[in-house]
């Protein structure tokens, strides 16, 4: 019987030559047989047969025969060692070392026992990442927000070309995706479990909410939940609100007597006594020991103002004022007065017109927003607004048809000159400039790509005013094709005006963005307007280095982006600023910032927080440093809700995949188990018969026997 997968092929003499050659040999042998018979040699067939066989074998070998067949053999193990890098691996289980450090130690030991060359190393949380060795992982923190253990083997197969025979996963086994243990149908899966498999108690703070703004001496509320896992029933928890470092409020919540899991709501009231951007932290203190303290506190920021800021909005009754008026009136941090005037007179806020007529009265306002009412304002009112700005007031001008950008009098010397307005029924896109995209005003999404996409979807603007940017103005967006002086007409621009500052939206039609059907568009409008108000209400003289963080709050392990804007005279030649990041209870880490391409004075750096808590960031250059910017980093709730390991999951996954489950204490036996049950594989073997000396010896042997037989018959 032929072996499995047997195949014969020829790679030497072509068959059309081999065929006639074989025929010629056969003819020669027949003639030889006839001559032996004529010589009455007995038996005549024997030398003929021997010579015929030798010739046939020679012809066969000269055709270059190659045989192929399958064999089964033992495979030396190729193992992927995967260490769970999710946040729950930070747990110490009551000991001195984190699960993460223990798992890395075990991984190194297994790798050594298997022989380093046959193992590959990975870390896995919500995604799988290959590493050169376990040593490389020691420089990292387990900050993955999820544990997708069931999916890890498939992810490894995608990430590596190596056909692994065994996958060894070192984990606490709690798959946060809710997946069941998978049957992989390929490599064996061995699991080493870390952490206690017993039901584990945990309590943490979740869903914390606070207002973004507050006022000195005015009370606000912080609301949230204490989540409790595996409660034995009736435990009490002290919940404390800390303003900066000081305890500001406290409450006690009690778990239900029945035990199990629970969400316990709390409300804490606080009356801040200091203004500023303040970190508020809610902490819980559980009566029972909590094995996962990482989620026991959560922080948020409240911008506490010394007084409510006042804002005057002047416009005509129109679609823009419908939406902007409603937005401004709905703000918590400001008190908006609305003055609506048109050709028929004053529609709303008649008493405000007295204030609008003098710069002194206008100085009561922190900000004035002026829309399309210029033709119906008295010259004295227009001049009062100009004087207000020149004396240090803040002004946002909406600059489409009937805007103040084209007004005469003192406005002729404004940074918005010449200010002629024009309509464009077909409309035009507003194009953000690189300066605009790198700054905080036009930032409507966390990521730069999302931000660019949002700006692409901005509805067309219709009317606009022409202004030539004065020296020192920042142009944030421009007209797609019209030039004002040497450059495209600015569509969003801010500039100093005397001691004050003016921000120009040189077009109409923003209301369309607010009124769009998608909630996202409306939110983008709100964010743009909030950014504009924040920008115009910030300090008079901006610092030489200004720092902006991509988010106020982030999950542990998520990347925080920092962008710094540095005034040219604050940087020495060839210097780049440095980002200083301070995690709670740790020394500051310094990260060099990289220049942003095409954006003069803008630099960026990224930071991945490895600890939960409030972090502070500062950008510094030789000419000064930015104000510290805080960011609250939270542990992933799904990772710490249940800090115990899921032994059933790990055992089942090992069982379904021909592997073995080991406890942390048995990790030293993993290498032996991998070697013992080494897999067998079928391999295809190819052999060329031409290069086998035995066959040539056989030819020689046949010819020798033939010669001997003739000699014994007396023919030689």
């Amino acid at each position: 019987m032929l072996p499995g997968g047997f195949e014969l092929s020829f790679q030497g003499m072509p068959l059309w030559i081999a065929g006639p050659a074989a025929a010629l040999c056969a003819f020669a042998v027949w003639r030889y047989y006839r001559s032996l018979k004529a010589a009455e040699f007995q038996p005549a067939w024997l030398p003929a047969a021997l010579r015929g066989a030798a010739l046939a074998l020679a012809v066969f070998l000269s055709a270059g025969p190659v045989v192929k067949f399958d064999v089964e053999r033992e495979v030396s193990p190729r193992a992927a060692i995967v260490v769970d890098s999710s946040q729950s691996m930070m747990s110490k289980d009551g000991g001195a070392e984190e699960r993460w450090a223990r798992a890395l130690g075990a991984a190194e030991e297994i790798s050594r026992a298997l022989g380093g060359k046959t193992t590959s190393f990975f870390i896995a949380s919500d995604a799988v990442r290959p590493l050169a060795s376990a040593e490389d992982a020691r420089a990292l923190r387990p900050v993955g927000p999820e544990s997708f253990i069931a999916a890890a083997p498939d992810e490894i197969a995608k990430a590596s070309d190596i056909p692994f025979t065994d996958i060894i996963i070192l984990t606490d086994g709690r798959d946060t995706s809710g997946a069941r243990p998978p049957a992989l149908g390929g490599p064996r899966a061995h699991i080493v479990g870390f952490g206690s498999p017993l039901p584990s108690f945990n309590a943490g703070v979740s869903e914390l909410s606070m207002p973004e703004y507050g006022f000195e001496g005015e009370e606000f509320e912080a609301r949230g939940f204490v989540h409790v896992t595996n409660s034995s029933g009736g435990e009490t928890f002290d919940v404390e609100l800390h303003d900066g470092g000081a305890r500001a409020a406290a409450a006690t919540v009690k778990a239900p007597s029945g035990g199990g899991d629970a969400r316990l709501p709390f409300t804490l009231s606080h009356k801040p006594s200091e203004s500023g951007f303040r970190a508020m932290t809610v902490k819980i203190k559980a009566a029972a020991p909590d094995p996962a303290p990482e989620d026991d506190s959560r922080s948020a920021f409240v911008d506490v103002a010394s007084a409510r800021r006042r804002l005057l909005y002047i416009d005509a009754p129109r679609w823009e004022s419908k939406f902007l008026g409603a937005f401004l009136s709905g703000l918590d941090a400001t008190e908006a007065d609305v003055l609506l005037i048109g050709p028929a007179g004053t529609f709303k806020g008649a008493e405000l017109r007295r204030a609008a007529a003098s710069a002194r009265a206008l100085s009561e306002y922190n900000l004035v927003v002026a829309g399309a009412a210029a033709p119906w304002m008295k010259p004295a009112e227009r001049d009062a607004l100009a004087e207000y700005a020149e004396r240090g007031g803040r002004l946002i001008v909406l600059g489409g048809r009937n805007s103040l950008a084209g007004a005469g009098g003192r406005w002729k010397s404004s940074p918005l000159a010449p200010g002629s307005t024009a309509g464009d029924a077909a409309g035009f896109e507003v194009i953000p400039t690189p300066t605009g995209l790198s700054g905080p005003l036009l930032r409507l999404a966390e990521s730069e790509a999302d931000n660019r996409l949002i700006w692409k979807t901005l509805p067309f603007a219709q009317t606009f005013s022409r202004a030539e940017p004065p020296p020192g103005a920042s142009v944030h967006a421009e007209h797609p094709w019209l030039n004002c002086g040497a450059r495209r007409c600015p569509m969003i621009m801010d500039a100093r005006w005397g001691r004050g500052r003016v921000l120009l939206f040189a077009f109409d039609g923003l209301w369309r963005w607010k009124f769009r059907e998608r909630e996202k568009d409306s939110a983008a409008y709100d964010r743009l307007m909030s950014n504009a108000l924040t920008m115009m209400l910030e300090t008079e003289n901006p610092a030489p280095v200004r720092l902006f963080m991509s988010a106020r709050e982030a999950t542990l392990g998520a990347t925080l982006s920092a962008t710094a804007h540095v005034e040219p005279d604050a940087l020495a030649e060839g210097e780049t600023p440095v980002l200083s990041a301070t995690a709670p209870g740790e020394p500051a880490v310094e990260i060099p910032m990289k220049p942003l391409e095409g954006r003069a004075g803008a630099f960026s750096a990224e930071f991945v927080p490895g600890r939960a808590g409030v972090h502070y960031f500062t950008a510094s250059a030789s000419g000064g440093a930015s104000e510290p910017r805080p960011a609250a980093v939270h542990a992933s709730p799904s990772e710490f809700r249940n800090p115990g390991s899921d032994e059933a999951f790990m055992k089942r996954m090992a069982e379904l995949n021909g592997g073995t489950y080991f406890t942390e204490a048995d990790a030293g036996n993993v290498a032996a188990a991998v070697k013992k049950g080494a897999a067998r594989e079928r391999a295809s073997v190819k052999k060329s018969l031409w290069s086998m000396p035995a066959l040539f010896a056989l030819v020689a042997a046949l010819l020798t026997v033939e010669w001997i037989s003739r000699r014994r018959g007396g023919l030689v």
Binding site: R318, W319, G325, A326, F347, A373, L453, T457, Q462, F515
Partner: protein
């Protein structure tokens, strides 16, 4: 019945396959278009101020009051300083450009009916800040009330008191709505619907403000009656703009 020849069967099989493939391609393209964010594009209304007239289903004469909105737009330009559109804009609740019109107007004598997708769209329109003004030409009110209950379940018309700001500015109407046309007798009534504390719908019933805005030759209303209609219409639009 004669069996189909094999070739015909094959052709029919290919045809069905082609139809299925085409349907799949259309569905995929539609899904892709839905998933993509809307790109910026010019608006139908440009830089002009329009109050669109609602074209609704159910058989009612939605198309009446042809000149009312263009004439009101002219009037609002004089009073508010907006740049008026000269023509009448008509919009259906399902139209893409519904959200180009923060205030829409409807009138008629007959039945009003909103399809389920129109009900959802009108609710979204209200939620985003839109305002619907219905001027009952006598007969439209009962069916409109029924349909609006689908849009804002659990809510019903609220009759506005004469002290309501809609009757106060810019023109004062101390006795509420002015009477423009007489059909069934009884005083004019103004009803509203609210989303939170924001008015999203106003109906003038038993008066027909919309007719009062028409060209004088249509209903032969005396100038002082027409003026009352215009003033009340200005108040309604002003309230929608300023609340």
């Amino acid at each position: 019945m004669r069996p189909k020849p094999p070739k015909a069967k094959a052709v029919s099989k290919y045809f069905c396959g082609f139809i299925l493939a085409a349907a799949l391609a259309v569905a995929l393209a539609a899904a892709a278009l839905r998933a993509a964010p809307p790109a910026a594009k010019p608006s139908d209304t440009g830089d002009k101020f329009y109050i669109a007239q609602l074209r609704y289903g159910g058989g009612g004469d939605w198309y009446d009051n042809r000149a009312s909105m263009p004439r009101l737009q002219e009037r609002l330009a004089r009073e508010f300083g907006v740049f008026p559109g000269a023509e009448r804009k008509i919009v259906r609740l399902a139209d893409d450009d519904l959200f180009s019109y923060p205030v829409i107007f409807m009138s008629g004598h007959g039945n009003v009916s909103f399809a389920p997708e129109e009900v959802a769209r009108l609710r979204a329109y209200f939620e985003r800040g839109g305002f619907l003004w219905a001027s009952d030409d006598y007969g439209m009110a009962p069916s409109l009330r029924r349909e609006l209950k689908k849009v804002l379940p659990g809510q019903d018309y609220v009759e506005l008191p004469f002290s309501h700001p809609i009757y106060q500015a810019p023109y004062r109407f101390p006795s509420g709505l002015p009477k423009i046309h007489e059909h069934d007798g009884g005083p004019p009534r103004g009803y509203a619907l609210f989303l939170g504390d924001r008015m999203v719908f106003f109906a003038d019933i038993n008066t027909d403000i919309g007719d009062g805005l028409e060209a004088p030759s249509i209903h032969n209303d005396p100038p002082e009656v027409q003026e009352q209609a215009f003033r009340m219409a200005v108040n309604i639009v002003y309230f929608a703009l300023s609340q």
